[in-house]
Symmetry: D2
């Protein structure tokens, strides 16, 4: 399982590269939101595999006690000024997500972007940006460069794989941090966990 090891090592390095200040801003925003806007909504948005990573995070937000929703599911309420939207796009250029982010701006909700490129259309629109390294399917060259720096060789992680896996683990780190801050035990999460499971 050489590649699995390589990807895991990439995620490990990503953990050291993510800017503490950016992650801190995101956790603070979510902690503050939990304490002061209990009726508020968190809408998670992502396309393709980034969307799946977003769903996994939204599920944990629900377990933590948030009213979380996922763009593209059946049940998506309107979001308003005091709500939060979290958009995930490695390139920061995924058309659907940029369009959705524009609608978030219009609704005056807060926008958190998770992307490899702070200087992308998505990144520039966001209130809070967390830069998660990884290649993206639109940026072959930059990506090649990123890989050189990170010492990972071609072609073992196609398309957005590295970004997606790093983001998944990053967001699970956010969940752990929120558990500590909100004093939630695993048992608390279990209680909110769906009891009618599919």
């Amino acid at each position: 399982m050489k590649t699995m090891y390589d990807i895991a090592e990439f995620v490990l390095r990503a953990a050291t590269l993510i800017k503490a200040r950016q992650a801190e801003e995101m956790v603070n925003a979510l902690e503050d939101f939990y304490r002061n806007h209990r009726g508020g909504k968190v809408l998670v948005m992502g396309a393709g595999r980034s969307g799946l990573v977003g769903r996994a995070f939204a599920m944990r937000l629900l377990h933590l006690g948030y009213n979380s929703y996922v763009l593209g599911e059946t049940i998506v309420p309107a979001i308003r000024e005091n709500d939060i939207a979290i958009a995930i796009s490695g390139s920061g250029r995924t058309k659907l997500i940029v369009t959705a982010a524009e609608a978030v701006r219009e609704a005056k909700s807060r926008l958190i972007a998770i992307t490899s490129y702070a200087d992308s259309p998505l990144g520039r629109m966001a209130d809070i940006v967390v830069e998660v390294p990884g290649r993206t399917k639109y940026s072959k060259n930059e990506d090649y460069f990123a890989r050189q720096i990170l010492g990972i060789n071609e072609p073992l992680a196609p398309l957005g794989t590295l970004f997606e896996d790093a983001t998944q683990v990053f967001l699970d780190g956010i969940v752990a941090e929120l558990m500590v801050r909100l004093k939630k035990t695993e048992e608390d999460l279990r209680l909110v966990h769906a009891n009618i499971e599919l």
Copy 2:
């Protein structure tokens, strides 16, 4: 479009066959729930095409101001004593839905069943049953009989089609009735309608 006409006629007859008392019980339960349990949840459950009909209904419940959820989506919270589950199954025997309904019983939530067979495993478990005619994929003979009575000839609506289409229109009738009772205008619904659309 002979078949479209036939199916629509079936739905029309179904509208006259559904027991007013059963429909009334369902609307009363939902009206009362809206007025007295604003934080409560409504979980809609169905498999296959019945699940799609359920989703369309859950979407309108959201527009009406309910906290509605759909079994099988990413975001499904635990449901409790004061919550409502609505299970849709033509045969009343769909394994997944019967299992889910048992979990609803255990959670002591209220259970509304929409089925062609009140005397099915699902029907017998429910607090409120609404019988919607239609054939189901498990009951060839009974179905044949139902069709004879309704004057519809083979084989123009395969599998559960008639039940599904009748249920879709029935539930849209429930939505209209709830709009009147809860004094909601179309504009009210539009305001809750997702503003970040996919």
Copy 3:
């Protein structure tokens, strides 16, 4: 169940209003596709409740032996010149669906539009248009007019309900017609029906 009856009556009238030539073109295209492009793909696209109606149709296409897919699900392959896309939008202006339809044009796939307005952005782009009456959330005035003609009074079917329910029954009519033409029995459909059910 006065409203259920009204909606069913609307669907019945819709069945008489749909142009036979348009429905014929759609069935012919699908029949020809089945006979001559067995490896080809059919992609069904719709937003919100129209998307759910599309899914119910895609499921039956699968049962009939087509390789059908639904925009927005996990598994959506690229579509090519010989493939078919079916777009459902009452107003013919739903942004997401118009954008998707433009991509269909670029991929040179065939485009079938189901909409209330042949002269909408979606309608004008399509190779085949089927006009299904119904009001839409974007066209209050035209809608009012449509209702006057159809003799249905306010406000019993909010937002796109009438279009969605009429389209659902229309597409089930198409399924029935395809069963006859492709000589498929209900048993044939049952055999392709998922055997590992959720």
Copy 4:
């Protein structure tokens, strides 16, 4: 981002703990399937967050040229003797997945299980088992033990997080290995990637 680092380190250790023989069997089965059963289907099954990990894998299988499907989506065909089902469950006891696996046995399709417990109901049923370490929500004690061994301290990854993240990276390793064996370039994957994106 201490926790992100810890989870990544866990995944790294997991990469060294996964039995090469088991991973090899899984890759061989998928390679052989690709070469000799081109029309065959691969059905991926998982509940909750394990289901999301499964979807991400199914998407890549599609990009690699497989006919992959995901249990719970709209489009799920029947599977037969020469098809493959891949079931993901940390505990190997998730009711829905065990039930689905039984149906797979009945359909005589091949069953690959990804679980932390080879000696679980799911593990015992499977033709091929890949043991991926991680704690699961059902096995507090064993989990505690597993963590002690792996040197990871409480409580930083709630419920099935470690299993899910390790499995995600493991499956992306499988994708990389299949790319090499099937001589697929990233460009090949891009070509099958959805061109009508949501």
